[in-house]
């Protein structure tokens, strides 16, 4: 399966889950699907049949509200039956609307922002102590970056030379009410990380080849520095009427929007 085909499948399943459950956050879930596709298709060393393998790579989703597309990814990869996705957000389901470690393949539950990176830093330190070569990948939102706990973790990661840690910032430039710049301007992101002693790369978060290349480079660069990929993305990417709109942080598609969305994804 190509990255493009994989991403298309993730979008279809995610859209159906959000529609079925009448839930929110589809814009957030769609903005990093192309990153998920590259990670789970070609980059991460993970085995759906052995989720506790000590030498697996670990992926942590810190923007837990965007979990629907991660669940879809894991199901497509065979971590759990794809039919389970219909229970997303329903009574008694493990597939809750913020990412849950009760789901096969999920390393860590989040929902409150600013927890994923500090936890990932602990995991990265642990793997260094155990002399395990696995990598820790963690994805956070750009608005989330304002949480002070991230800056504590950024200091720690560079001080402890955690070059096994790869942070991806889903830089869709929209947060809960408006743009990142209008909310609490976090730019320039790259210079901040550079000042904290990290290697950084700015990349188009929807360019499969560029993503693949930067992941490959960062995985093989063991220079004592943690890495950050600032991925320029579009919130709601793949469905035109959802793209770049704060509304789709909250709204759930109706039947007509579902059909239009599926049509756009299929014909992309």
């Amino acid at each position: 399966m190509t990255n493009k085909e994989f991403a298309k499948k993730i979008r279809v399943e995610t859209l159906k889950m959000i529609y079925d459950s009448g839930s929110s956050h589809i814009g957030s879930a769609f903005s990093y699907i192309d990153i998920l596709a590259v990670l789970y298709n070609k980059i991460l060393k993970v085995d759906p049949k052995n989720t506790q393998d000590p030498i697996r790579d670990r992926f942590i989703l810190s923007k837990g509200h965007a979990c629907s597309s991660l669940y879809a990814t894991l199901a497509i990869k065979g971590f759990f039956p794809i039919n389970d996705l219909v229970s997303y957000g329903k009574n008694g389901s493990n597939l809750m609307n913020h990412v849950s470690h009760k789901v096969q393949g999920v390393e860590f539950s989040t929902g409150s922002l600013g927890h994923g990176l500090p936890f990932a830093v602990g995991k990265a330190k642990a793997l260094k102590l155990k002399e395990t070569k696995s990598k820790i990948f963690v994805l956070i939102g750009d608005g989330e970056l304002a949480e002070g706990s991230n800056f504590e973790a950024m200091l720690f990661a560079s001080h402890h030379k955690l070059d096994n840690l790869i942070l991806i910032i889903d830089n869709n430039n929209l947060q809960s009410l408006t743009t990142v710049k209008e909310t609490l301007n976090i730019y320039p992101i790259d210079k901040k990380f550079e000042a904290f002693g990290w290697d950084f790369s700015n990349v188009d978060g929807h360019d499969f080849n560029a993503l693949h290349e930067v992941f490959g480079n960062f995985i093989s660069t063991l220079n004592g520095k943690p890495k950050v990929i600032i991925a320029k993305t579009i919130k709601g990417k793949g469905i035109s009427f959802m793209e770049n709109s704060v509304d789709w942080h909250y709204k759930s598609p109706n039947k007509k929007q579902l059909e239009e969305g599926l049509n756009q994804i299929e014909n992309a």
């Binding site: 500090p118 642990a126 102590l129 720690f156």
Partner: protein
């Protein structure tokens, strides 16, 4: 207490290679022996408790037995959400170790008065609270910690405390330890530094001459179901703690003993909230201790 803690931890760390000690830039003259003996398993996280707590969870999720160490209000209130979501929800083997419990740092002011920490920590059903009253009880608590795989809170005072608990072993968690070997049905029930306060009360007040002392150094939500049956063996219980009444150990006893025998009376010894904003030595501040 601090010294007993670090000595016991060092001894155990020699055989248990999973033990990691993380300090929040505190522990001068206490933690150095661990640091020099196990430099790879010692981390000074710096002044950043949120990262310290989440990072501890990350390390524990990879199989390490993690201790985070700081002054009582810092690795608790400052990072309450990290304790809730990262350590407790994932039920990880992290022990939050605090020093300066109660009013031990009385002169340092309100920021350093740990008089609400039980209230916060006992909200979390996953956490076992360990609040030893003397160095002997620290040893007993460390035995529990080394054999337990879930979140824990160890509340220490400072150094130089006398030993009151001369028992050879501790009762199971949640049970009360008879300190004075008394058969009296009137008792002080202490936790933490309350053990010394209870001793002082008996020494200084004739009205308590017929009181025994029991301590309950291992407690919390996991052990709530045990309390009613134990309490109903007595006629009068006065809980003793160096903490505010609300949310504290005495409140826990009142909450857990729902069906009280008619013969049983329970009252509470605690630090009155009028202490907030007062500063002074521990003995001066303990004038705000009252029994109600």
């Amino acid at each position: 207490m601090r010294n007993t803690f670090i000595e016991t931890l060092i001894k155990k760390a020699e055989i248990d290679l999973s033990i990691i000690l993380i300090v929040g830039d505190l522990g001068y003259n206490v933690i150095e022996p661990f640091q020099s003996k196990f430099p790879d398993r010692f981390i000074n996280a710096g002044v950043c408790e949120q990262n310290m707590a989440s990072m501890a969870a990350g390390l524990a999720s990879e199989g390490f037995k993690v201790f985070i160490y700081s002054i009582a209000n810092f690795p608790t209130f400052r990072c309450a959400e990290q304790i809730r979501n990262d350590i407790c929800y994932h039920n990880l083997d992290v022990t939050i170790v605090t020093v300066g419990g109660g009013l031990a740092y009385g002169n340092l002011g309100y920021s350093h008065h740990a008089i609400q920490d039980y209230g916060l920590i006992r909200l979390f059903p996953e956490i076992t609270i360990l609040s030893p009253g003397d160095p002997n009880e620290v040893n007993f608590c460390m035995d529990f910690i080394f054999n337990d795989k879930y979140p824990k809170y160890l509340r220490l005072r400072k150094a130089g405390e006398n030993n009151f608990n001369q028992n050879k072993e501790l009762k199971a968690p949640g049970f009360w330890n008879n300190i004075t070997k008394s058969k009296s049905k009137k008792i002080f029930l202490s936790t933490g530094y309350g053990l010394k306060l209870a001793n002082d009360l008996i020494e200084k007040n004739q009205i308590y001459n017929d009181f025994g002392i029991y301590s309950c150094p291992i407690w919390g939500a996991k052990y709530s179901h045990l309390q009613e049956k134990i309490a109903n063996r007595f006629d009068e219980i006065i809980t003793i703690e160096d903490h505010l009444l609300h949310g504290g150990f005495g409140s826990w006893i009142l909450e857990t003993v729902k069906e009280k025998e008619p013969t049983l009376e329970i009252s509470n010894g605690f630090i009155d909230s009028s202490i907030i904003g007062r500063v002074g030595s521990e003995s001066y501040l303990l004038e705000y201790f009252k029994i109600k």
